[in-house]
Amino acid sequence: MRHIISVLVENKFGVLSRVSGLFSGRGYNIEAISVGATLDPQVAQMTIVTKGDDNIIEQITKQLNKLIDVIKVTDLTDFDHVEREMVLIKVAPKAENRAEALRVAEIFRADVVDSSPKTYTIQVTGDEKKIDAIIDLLRPLGVKEVVRTGKVAIAREKQPAATV
């Protein structure tokens, strides 16, 4: 099953390497990873999307906790949470499809952040389903390049009674 794990780490040099080394060294799979600062400049936030059965996920969270620089590990899959990803899509539609590309962007409430005589760069934010859907619609029009940020996620403030 797919899990989204949020990891608070000391914002030090080499920490990302310790985390990614743990995954590669033990044969765990990282589908996506994103890293950023938090309100505390000494703490960084990693969001890791990984796959595995319950035993593997248990080991992953324990092994992450064991790293000296890891402050807190939360498997957000256990919580009601919001996850988002941002994607930049460069499309190069034929002249007759340029309007269609803009219409797709509008449907998904995506922004055109750059345009050239031959291309548009479309920025879209959302969950996995939304992003997959817009890419599917744009692909026949001629997608040149896609760049994704990887997911970020946060637990909802109000949790259903069972998981709190």
């Binding site: 080499g14 390497s17 080394g21 080991q59 324990k62 064991k66 000296i68 402050i71």
Partner: protein, 578 residues
């Protein structure tokens, strides 16, 4: 007063109570070695290879419980310690390794003798540091010792660039350290401990499996109390040897791939395993699916990742073994009187039957059997010696036939299985205990992996006794080739082995040889009498194998036992492991 980085390092080590450093100099650590010159409170033991330095520090740590300290230069000096770090990491041995690094402004430039040792050792250290500012040095050393020695111990590396050893800073060694993301949990959850006590009380066929955690946490007394109180037999992992007296009537010896028949049978047929400070390594479990399938498992370990990593666990207890066992013993004592001897009678009888069925044995004929040498060392020393081993058959025979009575008397590379470990480890232990008898039980292959340390032993007058079980083969690999590869002895015959006695003499040590069984005891006694390092070359049976053996992929009750053809009834059966 301001001190240089090199001075801060040495002063900090003194504050940590370090008396011995094992190391080797080089370009970027010149300033550090210069401070050591004439230093009275801190002795540097110059090994002949950096790998030897790490194993010596490791042996020192295993024998004393104190962290071993290593000091080497950058680049090749640093990469040469990787095996030693990995060995210590796998066996949870506290160690602080200090490596020199090229100057900060050169880092990343592929400078002379530059290696990214922090990157290289990330997966084989508990933690590692690169110190870029001399102002951080003292605190870093404090943290390194703290991390190395607490929780599940392990090696920590500090990489110090040359310019940091020269720069000056105010020296103030911190009194304490607090790392918010690292606070090991010592006490076990009391509710879980009560669960464990209740489970033990209900069990009909319980077995304790004790591992290296018992030794690390100093819990041998607590373990003995638990076993004796509840009359539960104890088997030990290789790392656990010495954690429970090998001559105790409840002791089943080692379990696993080369464990005793009765230990493996007991574990296989148990209805409860009480696993204490061990991690269900594949050499212990054999095929996991067939491992103790009818047993509940109580698992005590300080490292949460050890629990449920390889086997299912019914009662997990995360905590330091000593703390947990103290609490567990207390809870059990408070229970209204179980009549433990009565409850256990039939189970213990069952185990006695297994012991009688297949005791540990070998047949001593006219060629020296390696097991005979190990037993003789045990007899002559009355078990009062520190025994290091190399890796392979020598290690297994030492584990099977020497009855370790006390913790920290068995020094052997368990997890990594590092050939060349034993001799430098014995040197490190002898450095810590100059008046104790220290042996290295070696093979003719392994001893050649760090044979250069003879110079270290001779120079520092460390009278280590090396018993080479010389069978002219890489015996353990040869054994697998004989049993599973149709006797195709690919690259295991060690043609070209030197005369070990002459090698020893060339270094200024003593060489003794025994070619006949009748000479074995005399050689051992002579070696002990000589107050010098000794190589004992025992010319052994080339084809002797380690039994029992659980083949790869088999369950631990599916042991290969000594074939009857090799053991004609007429020959004398030697003593069983009790």
């Amino acid at each position: 007063m301001k001190l240089t980085g090199a001075e801060i390092l040495i002063e900090s080590l003194k504050k940590e109570g370090v008396k011995h450093i094992f190391g080797y100099p080089g370009g970027v650590v010149l300033n550090i070695f210069d401070v050591l010159y004439g230093e009275k409170d801190l002795e540097l033991i110059l090994t002949r290879h950096e790998q030897g330095a790490t194993h010596a520090a490791d042996g020192y740590a295993r024998a004393t419980g104190k962290p071993g300290v290593v000091l080497v230069t950058s680049g090749p000096g640093a990469t040469n310690i990787v095996t030693g770090l990995a060995t210590a990491y796998m066996d949870s041995i506290p160690m602080v390794a200090i490596t020199g690094q090229v100057s900060t402004m050169l880092i990343g430039n592929d400078a002379f003798q530059e290696a990214d040792i922090v990157g290289i050792t990330r997966p084989c250290t508990k933690y590692n540091f690169l110190v870029k500012d001399v102002a951080d040095l003292a605190r870093t050393i404090k943290e390194a010792f703290f991390i190395a020695t607490t929780g599940r111990p392990g090696p920590v590396l500090i990489d110090i660039p040359k310019d940091v050893t020269v720069s000056k800073a105010e020296f103030k060694y911190p009194d304490s350290v607090d790392i918010r993301s690292y606070r090991p949990n010592l006490k076990g959850n009391i509710w879980q401990i009560k669960q464990a006590a209740a489970t033990i009380a209900k069990a009909k066929r319980p077995v304790i499996i004790a591992g290296g955690g018992v030794i690390i946490s100093g819990a041998a007394e607590e373990l003995k109390e638990l076993a004796e109180m509840t009359k539960v037999p104890v088997t030990l992992t290789m790392m656990g040897l010495g954690g429970f007296p090998g001559d105790h009537k409840l002791c089943l010896g080692m379990l696993g791939m080369h464990g005793t028949y009765f230990a493996n049978m007991a574990v296989h047929n148990a209805d409860l395993l009480i696993a204490i400070g061990m991690r269900f390594d594949d050499r212990v479990t054999g095929k996991v699916e067939g491992f103790a399938s009818n047993a509940k498992i109580i698992h005590v370990d300080i490292d949460p990742t050890s629990i449920r990593k390889n086997v299912r666990v019914d009662v997990p207890i995360v905590g330091d073994v000593k703390h947990v066992l103290k609490d567990l013993n207390k809870v059990i004592k408070e229970e209204p009187g179980e009549s433990w001897p009565a409850i256990r009678k039939s189970w213990l009888q069952h185990i006695e039957d297994w012991k009688a069925e297949n005791p540990m044995s070998y047949d001593q004929d006219d060629v020296i059997k390696p097991q005979f040498v190990v037993e003789k060392i045990y007899e002559v020393t009355k078990g009062d010696a520190i025994i290091a081993t190399e890796v392979g058959q020598n290690q297994m025979w030492a584990a099977q036939f020497f009855k370790f009575k006390k913790p920290r008397t068995w020094l052997s590379s368990g997890g990594l299985g590092t050939m060349g470990y034993g001799f430098p480890a014995a040197i490190g232990a002898q450095m810590a205990f100059p008046n104790k008898l220290v042996f290295d039980i070696a093979g003719d292959g392994s001893i050649q992996m760090n044979i250069q340390e003879l110079a270290t032993a001779v120079l520092h007058n460390l009278p280590v006794k090396v018993a080479i079980l010389n069978n002219c083969y890489l015996g353990m690999v040869r054994q697998w080739q004989e049993l599973f590869f149709g006797e195709r002895y690919s690259s295991t015959c060690l043609i070209g082995t030197p005369d070990f006695c002459k090698v020893a003499e060339a270094y200024g040590a003593v060489g003794l040889r025994a070619s006949k069984p009748s000479e074995v005891e005399g050689v051992i006694r002579e070696a002990i009498k000589v107050k010098k390092p000794v190589f004992m070359d025992f010319v052994c049976d080339q084809f002797e194998k380690v039994y029992p053996m659980v083949p790869a992929g088999a369950a631990i009750n599916e042991m290969l036992l000594r074939p009857k053809a090799e053991a004609p009834a007429a020959k004398k059966k030697l003593k069983a492991v009790k």
